[in-house]
């Protein structure tokens, strides 16, 4: 993927570029808002990573400007300590996701992957991975033709994993998207629900679909 990074802190920018290039992405970086806007207009990118606080033109205005010009490139906002309203403001301003610094690079990679997938994809009514199927309209799930009973939150969890099938999703992404939690709980909500979900969809079937990626998160993958 070709990614444009607009970040004025050169040290952070250096680390991000390093991490993304390690994953095989090609990264352009600029260090202020004006140059960032020009660069985003000059060529097509798979994703933009934009710091909220930039010299010249702040990140939010930059993205609003791009959106006003009809550019739909996925945007991941970066910010230092989160203002409570910053997240909502960022998403309403045209951002696709929001990440608070400092962050683990695995978190950044997972989120960049997730926002690039989300784009240009219609809303499917059925999700499928290997022999696991979900019908989002009828709210049913089955594996190998056998119907599986899911609690509402288990259903949302599986839906999110399936939508991101083949990609790592982090604990924080699950907390935000499945449970609407924007803080780190002290109990094992994610682990507990995942273990229940696993016992329903993986136990008694041939291959495991939900895998734990150590130090990064989880992935639903048909091996």
């Amino acid at each position: 993927m070709k990614i444009l990074l607009i970040e004025d802190d050169r040290e952070t920018a250096g680390h991000i570029v390093h991490a993304l290039e390690n994953q095989g992405h090609s990264v352009e970086q600029v260090h202020d808002g004006i140059a960032g806007l020009a660069q985003a207009r000059a060529s097509e990118h798979s994703a933009l990573i934009v710091d909220r606080m930039l010299p010249g033109l702040d990140g939010l205005s930059l993205v609003k400007q791009l959106r006003a010009e009809g550019r739909q490139t996925p945007v991941l906002f970066l910010t230092t300590m989160s203002g409570l309203d910053d997240r909502v403001e960022g998403l309403e301003g045209g951002g696709d996701d929001y990440l608070v610094k400092p962050f683990a690079f695995s978190e950044l990679l997972a989120r960049v992957n997730a926002i690039t997938r989300r784009h240009g994809e219609g809303e499917p009514t059925k999700l499928r991975a290997a022999d696991l199927e979900m019908d989002l309209i009828r709210r049913t799930a089955s594996r190998a033709g056998k119907s599986i009973e899911l609690q509402p939150q288990e259903f949302r969890l599986l839906e999110y994993l399936l939508r991101n099938a083949g990609r790592v999703v982090t604990r924080a992404m699950l907390l935000e998207n499945v449970w609407d939690l924007h803080f780190d709980p002290r109990t094992n909500i994610v682990e507990t629900h995942l273990s229940r979900l696993r016992s329903k969809i993986d136990r008694g079937f041939g291959a495991e679909l939900i895998h734990t990626v150590r130090g990064a998160g989880y992935i639903l993958r048909a091996d």
Binding site: P102, Q151, R186, T187, I189
Partner: protein, 451 residues
């Protein structure tokens, strides 16, 4: 320095008032003077007319001789006119004035009669027989002078009072504004407890002083809060940061293989995340306490929200040997921030899960009490001694018993901050039943027409 009061607003105002008062006193004095003068002169003329009438009566009864007798009789009587003249064809018959050209009606004779002004009236008793009676204006002038003098004294006294009053008022104003300035300066110099003195007169200055004092109280409270948080942060960050340092140091001494280093690094990153988490929590509480979010409030139906929270923690509670029960005794809608309310309830439920032994029952309950929605998180665990209740909501307060468990003692301060933001009262159950019970009482939104 001594004449500084001359430049005060109060003195300037009283000087202006004194000026206006002086002008009106002058106008009033002039009117009084003119009117008194006219009354005196009218009286003089009336005396003269009465005397002339008496002489006419005498003349009508017995001719010139009788008129002359009447004249001489009146002339000796005090309280009547002073000057008389009876002349026939320009020759004086009787009286104490020299002959003069005959004038009828009111006749002023300035400077005549021993140098005095005379005012009187003249008339003809028969053609050629002229009579004049008049009085010395000396007495009128004397009365007028007296009136003028009295007025001048009164005026001077009034001016003196006005100036003294203005000075007094501005002095007291100055003293009070000086007191205010002194208090402000003391505060600037670091004495945050200094306050502006209030006289108890309930006047504008007192009200102003009261308002400023209230503002100072609020600022002092915020400063105290800030100071406390800064202390707490400095203090509580030392512990995890020194742990981190010790670990890194030990890793440097003891590690021999790459594997050891990798493990040490993972542990260090984990510890760093903990520290960042602490920062994030403190900032979050500070932001909530700042009240910045109220603009984003939206109606929240509590029933579905509590159900969501129960679904979220039900399995977690079960996995740790607890039992989480939801009781919806009513439905209520409040105005608020959904994410914050979820975090508030999460903190309470997680506290119950983390700080009570296995087998403890936890209940999440919604009921109504009039226009309040009561959300209760209750457990039947060991509870918290009553004397510790007040401390529970303090920032970074950790019970001795829970020091070995993860956490920084911020959970309940966040609960308190979110509750405050939503206008909700937080109460701790105070009965003898086992366990801890926290009740939040939110103001509900009434459906249109219900109120």
């Amino acid at each position: 320095m001594q004449i500084r009061f001359l430049y005060t607003e109060a003195f300037r105002l009283s000087a202006i008032y004194a000026g206006i008062f002086a002008l009106s006193a002058l106008a009033l004095g002039s009117v009084i003077f003119v009117m008194t003068d006219r009354a005196f002169r009218d009286q003089v003329v009336q005396f003269s007319r009465a005397d002339i009438a008496a002489m006419r009566n005498g003349f009508d009864a017995d001719g010139i001789k009788e008129a002359r007798e009447v004249l001489q009789q009146i002339m000796g009587t005090p309280g009547e006119s002073d000057f008389f003249l009876l002349q026939k064809d320009g020759k004086k018959i009787a009286g104490n004035l020299p002959p003069m050209p005959a004038q009828t009606g009111i006749v002023p004779l300035p400077g005549s009669g021993r140098g005095h002004d005379i005012l009187g009236a003249g008339d003809f008793l028969e053609p050629g027989l002229y009579v004049f009676a008049g009085s010395d204006l000396q007495r009128v002038h004397a009365a007028e002078r007296e009136i003028l003098q009295t007025l001048a004294w009164l005026f001077a006294l009034a001016m003196l009072l006005a100036i003294a009053g203005g000075t007094l008022v501005s002095r007291s104003f100055l003293q009070r504004s000086d007191a205010m300035a002194r208090a402000c300066r003391a505060i600037m110099d670091g004495d945050l407890k200094a306050r502006i003195p209030v006289r108890g007169a309930h006047d504008e200055l007192d009200r102003l002083a009261g308002t400023i004092n209230e503002m100072l109280d609020r600022i002092a409270a915020l400063m105290e809060n800030l100071r406390q948080v800064t202390n707490d942060i400095a203090h509580d960050l030392r512990t995890p940061v020194s742990h981190l340092r010790q670990r890194l140091e030990r890793a440097r001494e003891d590690s021999h293989e790459t594997k050891d280093y990798a493990e040490a690094l993972s542990a260090a990153i984990e510890k760093t995340d903990e520290i960042l988490q602490l920062f994030a929590s403190l900032l979050r509480i500070a932001q909530i306490e700042g009240g910045a979010r109220r603009a984003d409030f939206a109606p929240i139906a509590l029933g579905p929200l509590l159900t969501h929270v129960r679904d979220m923690f039900g399995a977690v509670a079960e996995a740790s040997g607890h039992h989480l029960e939801l009781r919806l005794n009513a439905e209520a809608t409040i105005r608020g921030d959904r994410a914050l309310i979820i975090q508030l309830l999460s903190n309470l439920i997680e506290n119950a899960i983390l700080h009570t032994p296995e087998g403890t029952g936890i209940s999440l309950q919604l009921s109504r009490a009039g226009e309040r929605a009561l959300v209760t998180v209750n457990d039947d665990g060991p509870g918290v001694p009553r004397e510790e209740h007040a401390k529970l909501f303090q920032r970074l307060y950790r019970r001795e018993a829970s020091r070995s468990q993860p956490g920084y003692g911020l959970g309940l301060s966040l609960v308190a901050a979110v509750a405050e933001l939503h206008g909700a009262d937080v109460t701790l159950r105070d009965d003898n039943a086992p366990g801890l019970g926290v009740t939040l009482s939110f103001p509900v939104i009434l459906p249109p027409g219900a109120a």
